[in-house]
């Protein structure tokens, strides 16, 4: 009954709220029980049910009626609901807006705080300050009234003082004794931060966290002394279930591309690995993997980064059979042959403007099905190449792009990862469609000498009628002549990508320059490797350019 009444209030105010925020694409909020994630089941009691006013789960906002009752008499219900919804909507429309921004803010906060929980807290406070300030500045809102009436801990008091200063609105926070000097200094620092300038959020959150750090550490200590988790945010927590699976997927991809930093990405993914696994997010989408499976952050990094370089799925080409058949009509002109005239559509008349003639076309059908061939990737992981698990390896990224392209076209990929192969420094993965296994093989790093063993490669090529080869190396291979000889004997399409100019590369180029099936690319900047790989693949996949 109560819930219905509140729901009616929400539905009545929703069109106005939507208009106020320029029509965000979120559904009508609901009224219902909100789970306080900061309290475990044993700690759940009456008061825990009333702590959180708003929950946002995959864009669905839920107002907690129990929370509303705690502020009865201090604020009207309508104003309170509107304030909570204004806050929630602004999280969607302004900050953090997407998962990538959230990750970025968290990562920056962690650089200052050093540990996951306090970094999350700092990021949450920062996000809330931005959302509330944006709302107060740009829209008519009851958020200040809400803050005036909320119960506050030490950090919340400082935040409220900050709001007083930057909004110019009295929230009832008055100076209190000896703590005031320290607090005033923190507020002074916090007030200088340009919260509403999105382009500076990276440096702003660092400043914010730096200033708030002592208070956050103190609060953490007090929490630990109390033996429980901290007080929950009445305006709702900011965690993973704000975002849908796809938003997380997109966010990780954008974050990988933005940072281009393996260690940064790894750190963030490892910090959130529990939450990601609980949402069923694994490397390959989590289906059937279940909880408890470790997410390899390095592999995930290359996967997400390679997605930014992908090319789309190629449609299966139709083979022309070679025979002509009547297809459509075109007007007959004087001088053009008679034999294809269609008497029926010409009404029995032979005259320009009336007579129609058949246009014939080659028949199309699926004669021999030409799919995309499989691909063998030969990747060099000798000491002269970058360790992909330590820093971004464009060689591995290029190989990842090739992998994606072939897998998307329903082909299989095999990997020959070599260093000093005769001494055992090699990893062979047979043809497979399992993306994770392929990436794992690509990311393996030996760091030793550089020598191929053709005995390893031959079984992978034998028996394969159509096969593309990609070799990515710096060409400083001790048995280069053997490789050259081998390539001279095979007819497969080969793309060789080598980094930098050196005598070995020149030797290789010279030796194979007459072979039409071998394309060599010298890459001056490592960043060009993915583009080169994709360029070759585009050429291969476009039937117009087939040279078989």
């Amino acid at each position: 009954m109560e819930e219905e009444r509140l729901q009616a209030i929400i539905e009545e105010m929703w069109p106005r709220l939507k208009r106020k925020h320029l029509f965000p694409e979120i559904p009508v909020p609901k009224v219902g029980k909100v789970v306080d994630l900061s309290v475990d089941e044993q700690g759940m009691d009456d008061s825990a049910e009333r702590r959180v006013g708003l929950e946002m789960k995959e864009k669905q906002m839920t107002i907690n009626p129990a929370f509303l009752s705690t502020l009865k008499g201090k604020m009207t219900e309508e104003n309170l609901i509107e304030a909570l919804l204004d806050h929630g909507i602004t999280h969607y429309t302004f900050c953090p807006w997407d998962f990538q921004t959230h990750l970025m803010l968290y990562a920056e906060a962690k650089k200052v705080m050093g540990d996951k929980e306090s970094a999350k807290q700092a990021a949450n406070y920062f996000i809330d300050v931005i959302a509330d300030t944006h709302c107060v500045k740009k829209r008519a809102t009851e958020i200040p009234e809400l803050h005036r009436n909320l119960k506050k801990g030490a950090v919340e008091e400082v935040i409220a003082s900050l709001y007083q200063k930057i909004w110019g609105i009295d929230l009832g926070i008055s100076p209190q004794g000896k703590e005031e000097k320290g607090r005033a200094e923190i507020v002074r620092r916090l007030a200088r931060i340009p919260y509403l300038d999105r382009s500076r959020w990276t440096e702003s959150i660092r400043k914010f966290t730096r200033s708030l750090k002592p208070l956050l550490l103190l609060a953490q200590q007090e929490q630990e002394a109390r033996g429980g988790k901290g007080d929950s945010n009445p305006q709702g927590e900011h965690d993973m279930n704000h975002y849908s699976y796809e938003e997380i997927d997109d966010g990780l991809r954008e974050y990988a591309q933005k940072t281009m930093g393996l260690s940064e990405f790894r750190e963030v993914v490892e910090d959130f690995s529990t939450e990601l696994k609980e949402m069923g997010y694994g490397i390959e989408g989590g289906m059937g993997r279940g909880r408890g499976t470790h997410i390899d952050a390095d592999i995930l990094f290359y996967m997400k980064l390679a997605e930014n370089y992908s090319i789309p799925v190629k449609r299966l080409p139709l083979e022309k059979t070679g025979t002509l058949h009547p297809h459509s009509h075109s007007p007959w002109e004087v001088g053009t042959p008679f034999q294809d005239i269609d008497i029926w559509t010409s009404f029995g008349k032979i005259m320009p403007g009336i007579t129609q003639t058949w246009k014939k076309k080659e028949g199309k059908g699926r004669g021999k099905i030409e799919g995309t061939p499989d691909c063998l990737i030969i990747i060099d992981s000798s000491g002269s190449m970058i360790n992909p698990r330590k820093s971004l390896s464009y060689a591995v990224l290029g190989a990842a792009c090739a992998t994606n392209a072939y897998l998307r076209n329903n082909s299989k990929v095999a990997v020959y990862n070599f260093s000093d192969a005769p001494m055992g420094g090699r990893e062979i993965l047979d043809y497979t469609e399992n993306r994770e296994d392929i990436y794992r093989a690509l990311c393996k790093y030996f760091g030793g000498g550089t020598a191929l063993d053709l005995e390893d490669i031959m079984p992978l090529i034998k028996g394969k009628k159509e096969l593309d080869l990609f070799i990515i190396t710096d060409m400083k291979i001790t048995n280069l002549e053997t490789l050259i000889g081998f390539f001279g004997k095979i007819q497969n399409r080969i793309t060789a990508v080598h980094i930098g100019e050196n005598p070995y590369a020149s030797r290789f180029e010279k030796a194979v320059e007459k072979r039409k099936n071998i394309n060599i690319f010298t890459v001056k900047k490592k960043e060009d490797i993915p583009h080169i790989v994709l360029g070759s693949i585009r050429e291969y996949f476009n039937p117009m350019n087939k040279n078989r």
Binding site: K111, V112, T133, V136, K137, K138, K165, I166, W167, G168, E185, R188, R189, A191, R192, I193, P194, Y195, L196, D197, E203, R206, K207, R210, S211
Partner: protein, 253 residues
């Protein structure tokens, strides 16, 4: 041939002057944006203005003192640079937080193209010395580079607390002020200081107190080496190491 009945609509083109174009923004003519300002806008804007002034002062210092971006640490260059810095700083109305922001702005090459550690440190020292506040806290633990020459001529009555590590010549020429370094400092800490107190919570480098004329240096961690101290005291982990048992300068432990 029978012509089809073409319906001709009567069409009167609008009477218009030659070469007149209709205003594509006409509908916005009456829009008037009432810019809502909150105190945050003013605060941020004034902080930006001050930062620009401080940045300009630094650039002028570099122009005058670091020709071709080379600057050698010598007694006379330090004095000269400080005088130039003073000249520009006196005209700026800034706060302690502006100094900290400037320290971070130095690392951002988009804002400040050149970070030359010597003049930068002198400039920051001048900013600290002329700040209105008696106590200045600089939270520099996230800075990637350590600032040299910080605390130069810090006067009596001023307290400078640095969270993080500092570079060479920390507290050089201290003139009665108090410096607290929440991290470590490098070499020549307290060189030429006349009076005052330097407290380094972690470790300190070589040539500590070189030509020190007075004052005290407290080190919470290890002292890598002492310099030629004229007068004053140096404490290592609350134990007096100078004046103390005869000890050669720069003992390498």
């Amino acid at each position: 041939m029978k012509n089809g009945d073409l319906k001709k609509k009567s069409f009167h083109p609008p009477v218009s002057k030659p070469n007149t174009f209709s205003n594509p923004f006409e509908e916005f003519r009456t829009f008037h944006f009432r810019k809502e300002e909150i105190p945050l806008d003013r605060i941020v804007q004034s902080a930006e203005v001050v930062m620009d002034q401080i940045r300009l002062g630094y650039e002028k210092l570099l122009e005058e003192e670091a020709k071709e971006l080379v600057w050698m640490v010598q007694y006379n260059t330090i004095i000269k640079a400080y005088e130039v810095a003073e000249k520009y700083i006196k005209e700026i109305d800034y706060s302690a937080e502006d100094i900290e922001d400037f320290c971070f702005a130095l690392e951002n090459t988009q804002k400040i193209p050149y970070l030359i550690p010597g003049p930068a440190g002198i400039y920051i020292s001048a900013l600290c010395n002329y700040a209105k506040e008696e106590e200045i806290v600089l939270k520099l633990s996230e800075l990637k580079t350590e600032i040299n020459l910080i605390g130069f001529r810090l006067p009596k009555g001023k307290r400078l607390m640095v969270e993080g590590d500092t570079g060479d010549f920390t507290g050089i020429g201290l003139e009665g002020g108090e410096m607290v370094i929440e991290g470590s400092s490098k070499n020549w800490t307290g060189a030429g200081m006349r009076s005052g107190k330097i407290l380094v919570k972690k470790n300190i480098g070589l040539h500590t107190g070189e030509w020190m004329m007075g004052g005290e240096i407290y080190v919470g961690g290890r002292v890598r080496g002492l310099g030629n101290i004229v007068e004053g005291k140096v404490f290592e982990r609350e134990k007096l190491v100078y004046p103390g048992k005869a000890r050669n300068p720069n003992i390498y432990y």
